[in-house]
């Protein structure tokens, strides 16, 4: 027990640094994937057949294969197969590769949520706007958008909570996120070796983070609860 109390501050400091990297990946993914997903959603709904077909094929590939494999391909393919590493070395390169993989992957998931939200707005809303002389973009902005957001908050919160945990997959290309930091103590790090509890303890970080997100999404839902669709 005394040993645990000696190890605890060392481990927490290390896990904090790892979790900072986890959070960085989380936010960068959100910032990239939220708008990119909307673009993909419009692509998949495009009336130009080639655009919608190509977009849907891309979404199928990205959603249909494991994110872990996508991470490995995006990180290693340029260097090993093309002999031209584009990511640069070190943690910065790994982070750039991981962000790219996560943004593409999550944008595809988000796009399907957006598409579902947009298509679930009754056609009568658009027709009412048209008859009142609104342009298509005015209808999207002033009539549909708020209703879409209201409808997609629950599925989006699901996906975003999954993202927090999925960042641990970046461990596969040795990104120094929190799982990597916890695992280091199993071998040997900072005088601690053969300890498995730090790895288990990482779960607490995810739980707290997702608890806060759950509260946040609950608040957003309540905010939009003033009207019914």
């Amino acid at each position: 027990m005394q040993l645990f109390f000696q190890q605890f501050p060392i481990v927490v400091r290390s896990l904090n640094i790892g979790f900072l990297q986890t959070l960085k990946l989380f936010f960068v993914t959100l910032i990239g994937a939220l708008p990119l997903g909307l673009l993909i959603a419009f692509g998949s709904m495009s009336r130009v057949k080639p655009i919608s077909v190509l977009t849907r094929i891309a979404v199928w590939i990205v959603r249909g294969s494991p994110l872990m494999i996508q991470l490995l391909i995006i990180f290693y393919f340029p260097g090993i197969v093309l002999h031209k590493s584009i990511w640069g070395g070190g943690e910065a390169g790994r982070f750039a590769a991981a962000s790219t993989a996560f943004i593409i992957n999550y944008a595809c998931y988000f796009s399907e949520i957006y598409r579902g939200g947009i298509q679930s707005v009754p056609v009568g809303q658009e027709e009412a706007g048209l008859v009142l002389g609104m342009t298509k973009s005015q209808i999207f902005l002033h009539v549909k958008l708020s209703q879409v957001i209201k409808r997609i908050v629950p599925p989006m919160s699901n996906e975003i909570i999954t993202l927090v945990k999925d960042t641990s997959l970046a461990r596969i290309i040795a990104l120094q996120e929190i799982i990597w930091a916890g695992q280091a103590f199993m071998k040997s790090s900072q005088g601690i070796s053969g300890a498995i509890w730090p790895l288990f303890f990482t779960g607490v970080y995810y739980l707290i983070c997702n608890g806060l997100l759950t509260l946040l999404f609950g608040w957003v839902e309540r905010k939009l609860g003033y009207y019914k669709v």
Binding site: P122, G124, Q125, E127, A128, G129, L130, V131, L132, G133, M134, T135, Q138, H142, V143, S146, Q147, K150, Y226, Y227, K228, V229
Partner: protein
């Protein structure tokens, strides 16, 4: 000069010809009721007038201006459709209010968006907005909703929602106001209040087209009745004449079935 001139309108969906050669005219201040069974093409006709459907043939003129001619591509440019639509207003069967806005904002929104494109708005936003709000309030009062202006659609009964929708359509001051079965989605005890409002709108200035299943209402409120069946106008003329003494066999059949349902 007729305010509305509809000539030889045709419309098909796939192989189904929904409108076959529809023609009629209306004078300013006239109320026209269109009756007929479901699937007779009444709603499609209103949707064509409001540019929600594009007719395959025929033409539409308002105040002599050719708004649409199937034979003239120049009248079909998407850009101008928006301006042309404003000649018509449409009240839907299912209201289609915007759920995120109050009754007042529902009435104001489209007017505000249109006003934003004018030089007056740029000069004095405040004054324009105040004027729009005052007009919207007056319209809601006119339909008897002075105490419901700040309510959201879900807080209103079906009849109240439909009255908001009527005020919303009036706000744009259309030349011709169309109603697509305005009481068909309402409980029987709520139809009265909506019909009363529509009746009260009838003035020498306002031109209205009402698609309805309320025969008594059609007879009392309109100056002209059209009976449609299978995409054609079967009978047309004086309301009391058509509803009380129909000449055509199909009209007689329809009205008999109708009184049986009542």
């Amino acid at each position: 000069m007729a305010i509305l001139e509809v000539s030889n309108i045709r419309k098909s969906f796939g192989n189904v010809e929904v409108l076959k050669d529809i023609s009629f005219t209306m004078e300013k201040g006239e109320a026209l009721s269109i009756i007929g069974s479901s699937g007779s093409g009444k709603t499609t006709l209103l949707r064509c007038l409001n540019f929600l459907e594009r007719p395959d043939g025929g033409s539409i003129r308002v105040n002599g201006e050719k708004l649409f001619d199937a034979a003239d591509a120049a009248t079909q440019r998407d850009k101008e459709v928006r301006r042309k639509r404003l000649h018509f207003g449409l009240v839907f069967q299912s209201f289609n209010l915007f759920p995120q806005y109050t009754a007042l904002k529902n009435v104001m929104l489209a007017v505000e968006l249109l006003a934003k494109e004018t030089p007056e708005y740029k000069a004095d936003k405040r004054a324009v907005r105040e004027r729009i709000e005052a007009e919207a309030r007056a319209l809601l009062e006119q339909v008897g909703l002075q105490n419901r202006m700040q309510n959201y659609p879900w807080q209103l009964s079906g009849g109240q929602q439909q009255r908001v929708a009527i005020a919303r359509a009036l706000a744009l001051k259309p030349d011709i106001l169309c109603f697509d079965e305005p009481t068909s989605a309402l409980d029987p005890e709520l139809t009265g209040e909506v019909l009363r409002v529509i009746r009260s709108l009838k003035t020498d200035e306002r031109t209205m087209i009402i698609v309805t299943h309320e025969m008594e209402f059609a007879r009392d409120v309109s100056d002209q009745v059209i009976f449609m069946d299978g995409g054609v106008i079967v009978e047309q003329g004086d309301p009391a004449e058509i509803i009380n003494n129909p000449k055509e066999e199909r009209t007689i059949q329809f009205l008999r079935r109708f009184s049986g349902n009542e």
